[in-house]
Amino acid sequence: MIIVKDDNIKGEEKKLAKRAFPYIPNSVEEIKAELLEDIGLSDVEDIFKEIPDHLRFDGKLNIPEPKLSEYELKKHVERILSKNESAQNNLNFKGGGVWQHYVPSVCRTIAGRDEFLTAYVGDAYADHGKFQALFETASMIGELVELDAVNTPTYDWSNAIVRSIRMASRINGRKEVLIPASMSPSRKKVVLNYCKPDIKVTEVDFDQDTALINLDDLQAKLSDQVSSVYIENPNYLGYLEISAQKIGELTHQHGAEFIVGVDPSSLGVLEAPANYGADMVCGELQPFGLNMKWGGALSGFIASPDEEKYVGEYPSLLFGITPTVEEGEYGFGHVAFERTSYAQREKGKDFIGTSTALYGIVAGVYLALVGPKGLIELGEGIMQRCEYAKKKFAEIEGVSVPIKTPSFKEFVVDFSGCNKSVKEINQLLEEENIFGGIDLGEKMEEYENCALFCFTEVHDRYDINKLINSIEMIIEKY
């Protein structure tokens, strides 16, 4: 019951001042009393008496005054959120792990349905649809990377990477992984923590001019101690790791697992990693129907061959298709559940838990909507915009596009030749309602005064021209 302080309310009308909480049906005093009476208790304290007094919190939680009506609540939260500036009213050219793609309305509709939204760990009979939806997503990802086994979604790409690394280590018993020094600094932090204490993480140098892995350094660091080699393609800076096949061959020569991380929105135009030698593939599903949400809508995947040696090492839940007693009907269930920490506690493979199922379902809806031809068009269109933008950047005095390696969606722009830092430029761009490229100098010492720009299908020519024009103005005028 909510007790409303209202000095005006008197007598019979006083009843109005006590209100049940809309989210708590039994918060009506009479019902509460009825329930307690039924079980022979007089007060909730008869239950809480099991908690010793000195362990009780005696006081009232000091949290803000509530907004009891939905209207006031909405206004309150909207007011706070309005302190943000978003890509709705600003042109955004930041990527680097979260990318602005268009989210089809059908994706939002499915994500918003209470059935999927508020389900949880129900089995395949009551939650048949959830199992089928995640099986279908896995099926489509499998096709993109051309591998037969795909897990249910993990927290994000970075967690998918390190789980792949640990799977590899369990498979071959080795305790060292090679990762590219060019990988996302943020994902790298996750990998470094998660590999502890037993897996040694060794960084392979990259060539600053091409943004590509230095094959000599790779070869120097490869050994029979190495459990796996991880690369990203396209890499964090947007460039295609053009020697990927070669890297895979070298990896295999040392009996190690070759793990490739991808932004899967590139896979309409880029080769399926399994076709250039990847043993395992991981990546990020955010581009598939998920808004940026301040980086909160991440969802990782892992794919591998459908072999027991791989499948038996997944920490995640795995949903498989199987017949039911009804002829012709598809059923679903957990594959190799005994692997998991749910089944075996500390003897299971790493750990599992609630991850990002709903995002995975949405990714499947997205892929079915765009289809193969749409994914190709998406990829080609993004590359065309990047090429156009590169040319435009190169025309600005003091600005250059130093790296000539083919790229997808993102590339590095060098502002060293002009009179302002990337930080200054970005601040001034904000005044033009533009979110400029990521300041790379803050993240990678190799790229002082450089920025990482991202172009997707949401950008049209006028958007790109506006960016270019604003940068020109900022450099020339201020």
Binding site: I3, I24, L35, L36, I51, H54, L55, R56, K67, K74, N84, E85, Q88, N90, G97, V98, V106, I110, G112, R113, L117, T118, A119, V121, Y125, A126, D127, G129, K130, F135, E136, A149, D156, S158, N159, K189, N291, K293, W294, D306, G320, I321, V325, V335, A336, Y342, R345, E346, F351, I352, A357, L358, L367, G371, P372, K373, L375, Q384, R385, F435
Partner: protein, 510 residues
Amino acid sequence: WDEPIIYEMSTPGVRGILVPEPDQKIKDSAGDVMAKIPDSLRRKKEPNLPEVSQKHVLMHWTHLAQETMGSNLTNDISEGTCTMKYNPRINEELVENTDFSLLHPEQSEETVQGILEIYSEFENIVKEVSGLDKATLQPGGGNHAVYTAASIVRKYWEEKGELDQRDEIITTIFSHPCDAATPKTAGFKVITLQPDEQGLPDIEALKEAVSERTAAIFMTNPEDIGLYNPKVDKFVEIVHEAGGLCFYDQANANAFLGVARAREAGFDMCHFNVHKTFGTPHGGSGPGNGAFCCKEKLAKYLPVPTVEHDGDKYYLDYDRPHSIGKVRDFYGTAGVIVRAYAWVMAMGEEGLRETADISVINNNYLYRNLVEEVKGLSYCYRDNGLIRQEQVRYTWEELTDDTGVDTLAIERRIADFGIQHYWTSHEPWLIPEPMTLEPCESYSKDDLDEYIKVLKRIAEEAYQDPELVKNAPHKAASRKRKDDNMLDDPERWALTWRAYQKKKDKIHAD
């Protein structure tokens, strides 16, 4: 619905949506971009995705949705330990606001003051609810928060130079599996305490287990059988005396909001599953979020960045040299935090406390009536004289002995009544034929009575027509799987449609 697999609905050439193309001027300027991709990396074959019209995509996933039972549309007392609350629709509206949904995580701090404020405010709320000093919202789920705890314990001993010695983490068997699995993943040995005869964590076993090798204890309270451990502070004391750290798994803290906190029991760290206690949707198994709290002395180990305020504005603090690094890219599942903040703001202090009160009242009403009315049903440690708090682990042992119908059959059968399968128990099943129910504050008396009625009916069926229950479900979205062994058989499991195509013959061999 007898819904096909999406690939079976595919027709070449059909489109579900068109992507925006660059205009001709961009194309002309760009030239043949495909030619720039080295041959080894150029895709040669169209990816084999389904080709389906927009109506049919929507129809298909709508049907799949209708074949799924979310807690907002069912009497979901079933999923004990999961706190299947009502997830307010208004919160979904709030996260669709483009002032949130279209924020890029690399935007400047000046442009994200709103979301930083919500992070900071919600951190204050979980700090108050736990009584601890500092929080992070980075972990992507509850288990992920426990893993974060394990990482922090590791870092703590590493910095003390004692990691080689302090390599054991103690937990209890009725604590969540992650309290064992995540320390293991983080490199610790795990010692698991068995319960005493009352079903409570055994303090004598703890005394034996602690030593100079103890890095920490990871424990739940109440454990997932619903008993509050009155000596929990003693456990903390014992571990502290041995020099270890104490982590309190409060994944589900629903029944103790404003009632009991980590601080009073002396813990150094705790976490909450935001999608349980704070009313955010479970999403069919995520996205959720873990809120990790700790005392000041451990704050320096938190993942980067933390959310701080410089008196003027909020900012992200990456300059934390003792940090464990990161457990997830960026800052956690921000949408879950926005919803959780809104949920708390809809409830207030009184509402949180009411949540706790009604949760334990509902549970007591349910279990006392259930065991009275349902033949063959009892609950674990029934005779220990302790009143259950927010949930109860039941046992169908008697019914199984009488009829041969086991808990898995009853669990399947319940779906025929439009109710979600109930949660049996985490492994291992110390309690035979278990069932765990948690009637949190979202359920009405009618819901509780309906649940009792359905279990009573199924129990009667088990006694009268056991095959009916054993062969369940009959009216759910799918019938019983033909052979669960297939799912453990590498030759016959299939995780993708492409694998199924290859294995079809083997799967349908008999």
